[in-house]
């Protein structure tokens, strides 16, 4: 059965559970027993292990952080939103967009922003899908940084990322998001550090009026 390796990968991927990513380290006695059984070579290894030169002979093997991947949970939810939206987009492509709002977003009053930047975010709805269109080509970022578009609540306690902004583009607002609950449109400078939360360095901000 499933002799084609690609088919096997496909079938197995569907069945992977979070348990399959969980690991338990063996008790220390296991290595001692291995070293005792294979004799000379491994005893030399054990000595190496104590002064941290184990990886010195072999090139260092970076042990992957045991932050186990969670696509079966969180990422899948994000992706399913995208899939659902794509289906809607396909079905309603011919629809003309309805303008929901045009919001001025500026650097005014933001301590981390260069002064005098102003642009406008356009929010439109097409076939039930809302999108924000934005041009940020006036904002400079460093080589290890990028801009990210957010919707934020009035308390600045909760936010939704709409994605990375390069020069400009159109960003879908997830169907679950009530714009009245997240009226602030925010563009932040994010370091390229893999940390998914807002950096706190906003460079553009505007508020959708009710």
């Amino acid at each position: 059965m499933m002799n084609d390796p690609d088919d096997r990968v496909r079938h197995l991927l569907r069945d992977v559970t979070p348990d399959d990513a969980r690991r338990t380290a063996p008790p220390p006695a296991v290595w001692d027993a291995i070293a005792a059984e294979v004799g000379h070579d491994a005893r030399a290894d054990t000595a190496d292990a104590t002064d941290e030169t184990v990886a010195g002979v072999v090139a260092p093997i970076p042990l992957r952080a045991r932050h186990r991947w969670s696509w079966t949970l969180g990422a899948a939810a994000v992706l399913l939103v995208a899939i659902g939206a794509a289906v809607i987009i396909d079905a309603r492509r011919a629809d003309a967009p309805d303008l929901i709002a045009a919001v001025d977003v500026t650097s005014e009053g933001l301590p981390d922003a260069p002064a005098g930047i102003a642009t406008r975010a356009i929010i439109e709805e097409t076939g039930g899908v809302r999108r924000v269109a934005l041009d940020v080509s006036g904002v400079d970022v460093g080589a290890d940084e990028f801009l990210e578009l957010w919707l934020i609540n009035d308390d600045i306690t909760d936010m939704v990322s709409l994605g990375v902004v390069r020069n400009g583009g159109t960003f879908e607002i997830p169907a679950e998001v009530e714009l009245a609950d997240f009226p602030i449109i925010d563009v932040s400078v994010e370091p390229d550090d893999g940390v998914p939360t807002h950096s706190g360095r906003s460079v553009l901000r505007g508020r959708l009026e009710a």
């Binding site: 990968v9 991927l13 338990t24 291995i34 070579d41 186990r68 899948a76 994000v78 939103v81």
Partner: protein, 208 residues
Amino acid sequence: MSAALLTRPDWHNVPEEPLRRVSDQMTEPTTLDDAFARGGDSVLRAAYDEHGSFVYSLCRRTVGEDLAADITQEVFVAAWRQRASYDPARGSLGAWLTGITRHKIVDVLRREARHRNERLDSSNVLLDVSDPVEWVRQLGDRMLLADAMEALTERARAVIELAFVEDLTHEQIAASTGIPLGTVKSDVRRGLDRLRRHIDFDPPTGET
């Protein structure tokens, strides 16, 4: 507000180059894989540090905690003695070790089945599965894939999931994620190459 919405859509933000170098270790034989095949000081310990938890965890889930330590020991001793038969070009060291582990586990299950006068291929009380041999194989491969998926870039992982789990076409993935079609295709192809290296590895001979 679901927690998922508070994180970035992950395919947007992955710096392609630095991460690709990390995951290339999954396609091309790593230094450890090569060194293990040649043998030499320190490699058994390095292999144990990298794969010991995997082997032990697979044993725990199949034969239980009491036997897991013994089998883990047997696996690494057997692997060391047979290291000349490991060919890094054919698959990852992890996949090869999993093959050895699987055979050790099946041996244990067979012994236990004999004690209970049951056939292993009939319904097994311990495991409560109809085909324990295939069950162990699939469990090992799923654990290998879990590791291999983790080593992919977030974007490649998302694309692979959409292609293989959600069964979207490349065009649908490009349309729904905004990733260029050519990138989707190369992510799928390269991702599949990497994942395949972690399964479908013929077990070493003489281990059954």
